[in-house]
Symmetry: C2
Subunit: 479 residues, 2 copies
Amino acid sequence: MASPSGALTFAAAHRSRFVAELADLIRFPTVSADPRHARDLERCANWLARHLRSIGLEAVTVVQSPGPPLVLAEWRHAPGRPTVLVYGHYDVQPVDPLGEWRFPPFEPTLRGQDLYGRGASDDKGQLFAHVKALESYLRTAGRLPINVRCLFEGEEEIGSPHLGPFLQRHRRRLSADVAVVSDTRMLAPELPAITYALRGDLGLELEVSGPRRDLHSGVFGGAIHNPLQALCDLVAGLHGAGGRIAIPGFYERVRRWGEGERVAMARSGPTDAQVLQEAAARDGWGEDGYSLYERTTVRPAISVAGIVGGYRGHGVKAVIPSRATAKLDVRLVPDQEPLEIERLLRRHLDHVTPPAVRSSLRRTRVSRPVVIDLGHPALRAAAIAYEKGFGKAPVAIRSGGSIPAVGAIQDVLGVSSVLMGFGLADDGIHAPNERFHLPNFDRGIATSIWFLDEIAREAFEGPAAAARMPAALAEEGRP
Amino acid sequence: MASPSGALTFAAAHRSRFVAELADLIRFPTVSADPRHARDLERCANWLARHLRSIGLEAVTVVQSPGPPLVLAEWRHAPGRPTVLVYGHYDVQPVDPLGEWRFPPFEPTLRGQDLYGRGASDDKGQLFAHVKALESYLRTAGRLPINVRCLFEGEEEIGSPHLGPFLQRHRRRLSADVAVVSDTRMLAPELPAITYALRGDLGLELEVSGPRRDLHSGVFGGAIHNPLQALCDLVAGLHGAGGRIAIPGFYERVRRWGEGERVAMARSGPTDAQVLQEAAARDGWGEDGYSLYERTTVRPAISVAGIVGGYRGHGVKAVIPSRATAKLDVRLVPDQEPLEIERLLRRHLDHVTPPAVRSSLRRTRVSRPVVIDLGHPALRAAAIAYEKGFGKAPVAIRSGGSIPAVGAIQDVLGVSSVLMGFGLADDGIHAPNERFHLPNFDRGIATSIWFLDEIAREAFEGPAAAARMPAALAEEGRP
């Protein structure tokens, strides 16, 4: 069997080259939300494919799609051993507000132990940790201890709209025993975490339209309803007393967790003070009766991610805009169904939109909430790998975020995922000055090497696996 | 005395040149709200000054200012005759949303009888009608029937912040018996109007700030207050039941008009149906108990002219923005004091801003409400001039808009204004596809020629003038 020690030594010896290559990967401005970057996404996919070939992976393919291309690769010379599907995404969030970046977002800049750049943490750095682990094994042992398939996509940040159909078409080519997804966070640099729950995500654009053209707000102000004001009314009306969402029926299917789960969450998850510190916020907010950790994980939320309406330029313009749009980001929890929530919101808006304007809703992304069975045998391997890679066993936590691929891989391929995060809460993902804490890159590579080694020992069928599960992980404590 | 008939013949004969020159004037992208256009405003001021010199005006000066320069000119060779101050502005509104323009906003385009272009109606076309009237007189009679001073500014669309101090410094140079301002509308192409009331204007930027940096709306949504949502709450809370503004004390000083005024307004002003048609809107909106005309003229209003917050680009971005701003446009009526209203709003916001965010208010423009005495003798001259220029006597109307210069000229120079509008309600001022109805340009020039002629006959002191005032105008009916 291939030994992890050679791979670990190789990784440590080639550390500076690995970081330089990661910087090359970050340099591609792969903003999937912006069609003007389509060519950059293609170039990045091609670079990634060449890189995977160069480290010894096989059957490397850039697969065209209605969206950005997907990159596939594999190494399947360990018959009888498990197959792991490594998933990651090479696309990134938009960079605005650009003025708040200390360094140009696509010119990776090293400061202290952090590498700054859009996508450094989400998800290029985390994805690349696995790539470098595979390289380290292949260059030293000439083989991997297990079978591996890689699936890297370029539209995670816009909700992976084409991933489900793609997985359907390539089901056989992507069959695996378990997937590993590193697109989440740890609790602290020395405190690794395995994420076992993700919120669902429903992206909606709420447009309010009124007069056929923009009107002078002096001449008509007070007599013609202002779509931007009506939009503010509708957005304000989404929340009611006690921070609760005021859409009738919205909470109906929200799962009630038992007191045991709440106690376990309080023990293992971040405290209110920690959440506030991570957010660099002074005060919390939200639904009465729940901790901040609970509010972001087991309770749903609606955020206004942006409003487009009226004059946004320098100075003043006296105008009643003819239309205005809010980008809504609805985070859902078990057992809410995204499309049912959309129907409830439509019905609510039909009811509350004033007659002088019209409202409409357009869905921009959808993914369902996911909860991963803590009894899955791959989680044991991940826990051991973390303990060896970071010197500390991981905590099992819930995340408020969403990774559409995790649900799609489960639903279409029937494959469960291990969410092995190497990010930190203050990485600034989705914000200016995103960065990746490079010690996490190094330890992430080591953890991935140990994970491949541990998975090789794993049986994926029968009751044996669950029996080996650390009890504390199963009830969300620190193992 | 100089005869209007020669001037009228000259204007008709040179009509196509006049339109071509107006197009040249519109071609300058003089957006005063945008500092990137500072050089264009200077170029336009210089062009205008050269033009005024070329038509025979004297003492033409481009006066530097902390804002865009002002252009002054005069002709003062009619001793013993009245002096008229011709005011206009050469700056224009921003052009966004640019995508909705049928033609490029600064490439004037003729379609049918309309000249399209930003500023065509507001205010370059209306200003230029007076310039062409002066030229027509000077080129034919070699003189004007009265004394004239011209004052053309370049920051009306941002609230004329430097005009008051400028008038203070140049009080003697700008002394006059009356000002004529053509920056308003008529009721229809065949129905001229003299505007005798303007609302005041208070421009404010309301900023709400929360976390120090943008946050991931999945990771933190539900636990950290969203400044954009809080802004929507604050904006929504500005209005209460029955379309009334909910700021305590806001209506306290609003003048109650007698039943006579309301009857006169109903007789002379536009009906609800006409206001809706002009706005291209299906439904009215606003304060219960008032007609749409009243709501836009004798009742105050608050419009949200724009919101800047969160992601505004293509597609989706999952973010809780760290701050959000609303541009508020508060229109005031007698006897509201803009700065008192600002204080009331600050107090209200202090009271209702939730503790998890902070709100702040920045004033961007201010002008007080103006009511012009219908007994002013220049209004008689204007009414006769309109009757000769358009073949129809004007209606006296109130406008919901604001022209800061009118209050400043009154307050600083002690000079009343005649608001002789040549615009139309569907000119699309402040909106895409602004246009000027060229028959109004032609008739506006003729009306200005007749006005100069009529003013020459006018006595500006003593009771004689008021006695000659058409009774119907005085009570806001059609004379």
